[in-house]
Amino acid sequence: MASPLEPAVVGLGLTPMSLSAGGVPVDLAIEAVASALADAGLTRGDVDGLLVNSSQGVRPDRLGVALARQGGLGDLRLLEHVEIKGATAAAMIQRAVLAIRAGLARTVICVFADAPLRAGGTSGSTYAHSGGNDGARGLERASGVLGSVPTYALLASRYFAVSGGDPEDLCAVAVSTRAWALGNPDAVVRKPLDAEGYFASRMVSAPLRVLDCARPVNGAVALVVSGEATPGQAPRVHVRGMGQAHPMRRRRAPGESWFGGGRAAVDGALAMAGLTRSDLDVIELYDPFSVVTLLLLEEYGLVEPGQAGKVVRSGATAPGGDLPVNTGGGQLSGFYLQGMTPLAEAVVQLRGAGGARQVPGASTALVGGIGGRVDHHACLILDLEPSR
């Protein structure tokens, strides 16, 4: 029997976001799940579904479906490890909503946890040593492409070449995002930033500086999606629109290899919601690097082609602007927990729980998740009103 209510996000739980080594994903996940259940006013016994999102790559401690057993949950009707890279968080919500609508589950936890910061090494070092020596990745690594920054730097150079953008645009993204972080107690970087500070920061892979890169943390986020009436105090956040796009760009001439094709995910989500881009009050995007914010603003049709840099430099995306983007500081200044970063912030904003960074009257949010090298897109339109 289907649930009585439209499925909605009814619980949100975040661990503290740590910039130092410590914690393992399973323990962080259990902590976030407990927090999300408490937020929803539910207990473990109310849960009949668990969706798990782990970091990519084969790490011995990565999260998996064993979390159900290790985390002390009871019998479940839905249990899956969802994997479309960084797009997974938004896709898990889609999966949970569809399962609840189909009567396959009533109350589903979606959780992501990661602990890339290890004793004796930086996260950059962890990533530099990952990837193996086989296949295209092995060839790239033998060519000095270590970690993901050089790859996104190539993307940035290509994006600049076709859009006319330049490093001032990257600076504007970093400064705008930091301004939002100042109002978010969960953000890990809350020191004011101006252009001078940005251009003084260390170059990692030109044109990307360290302040163009996400801040990895050890931490976890869990959400509860339910079609039941729940006792939590926060407003229900409905999933009015959902979309995915997996453009098969080819690494050959003459098309662009690095971007393009993601717009269909947003178009589909808006069509399902019966809304247009002008209805969006807040935009929460997956921003592992500043250039991705610029790219997605254009690719998702939120600004005119070639205008992203100009729009961000105008202050429109910053606090007080008319196109609020990554209102918690994003992954750049908030915390990098992959697709959970934009998703969690959208829920906070729609609940009106944003405190100093609250966008007044925010009732409709776009959540954009990307995976791989901007190869996978999963979008949500979250809204205080249920679907029709």
């Binding site: 296949g135 033998a142 060519s143 730097a153 070449a161 076709v162 892979s205 690494r251 050959r252």
Partner: protein, 206 residues
């Protein structure tokens, strides 16, 4: 000694048989950029590429049925669906499609003390391949610049690398290369050159 501080050999020296032998031994011993620990798996999924490279050929995958240039890890043609893949030598020439100068140098894996270029090269065959330069280069070439393809040796495995000097195309794997790509490290080269904006590629429509 760091490659970036080495005095570039003059072309005349590089052409002499004695210099060839000496330089060849050095190249076989160590790559200019990365530690041998980053040697790719020569008999793995890209075995045809590495076998070709060892013989001085740039060998890349095509659809055996329709001839479409395929990605390195593609196992079925996106044009016609055929699963027969034919690896064959291609012209060792292309142009810069995207470029970065990498400043972060992971200790133990990266041998140089100065930033190094990473290029996405669009080959004459249509394939796009990420590589570094044949020898140390302190600045990054602009998008659209023509390159020829030679080979570096990483832990004894030949891997494609871009030469900014046309003579580089004639280099056999592990052979010495001309010094044309060596320039003094230039801190001002950290940002992308303005010329990177003058791409001949069409505007992408989001």
């Amino acid at each position: 000694m760091s490659p970036n501080t080495a005095s570039p050999a003059s072309p005349a020296e590089a052409a002499s048989p004695a210099a060839v032998t000496t330089a060849q031994a050095q190249v076989q011993a160590e790559d200019w950029l990365v530690d041998a620990a980053l040697a790719p798996l020569a008999d793995g999924s890209l075995a045809p590429l590495y076998a070709g490279a060892a013989a001085g050929e740039l060998t890349l995958p095509f659809c055996a049925a329709c001839g479409l240039a395929l990605e390195l890890e593609q196992r079925a043609c996106d044009g016609c669906g055929a699963t027969d893949i034919h690896w064959r030598p291609v012209e060792r020439a292309g142009s810069v499609h995207a470029v970065t100068l990498v400043h972060r140098r992971e200790p133990g894996l990266v041998r140089v003390t100065e930033p190094y270029p990473v290029l996405d090269i669009e080959l004459a065959s249509g394939h796009r391949l990420i590589m570094t330069t044949l020898t140390a280069a302190g600045s990054a070439p602009v998008i659209g610049r023509p390159v020829t393809i030679g080979f570096r040796s990483v832990g004894g495995v030949a891997v494609p690398a871009a030469s900014l000097d046309p003579a580089g195309a004639d280099a056999a794997p592990g052979s010495p290369t001309t010094s044309g790509t060596i320039t003094a490290p230039d801190p001002s080269a950290a940002g992308l050159p303005a010329a990177a904006h003058t791409s001949s590629e069409p505007e992408v429509s989001p």
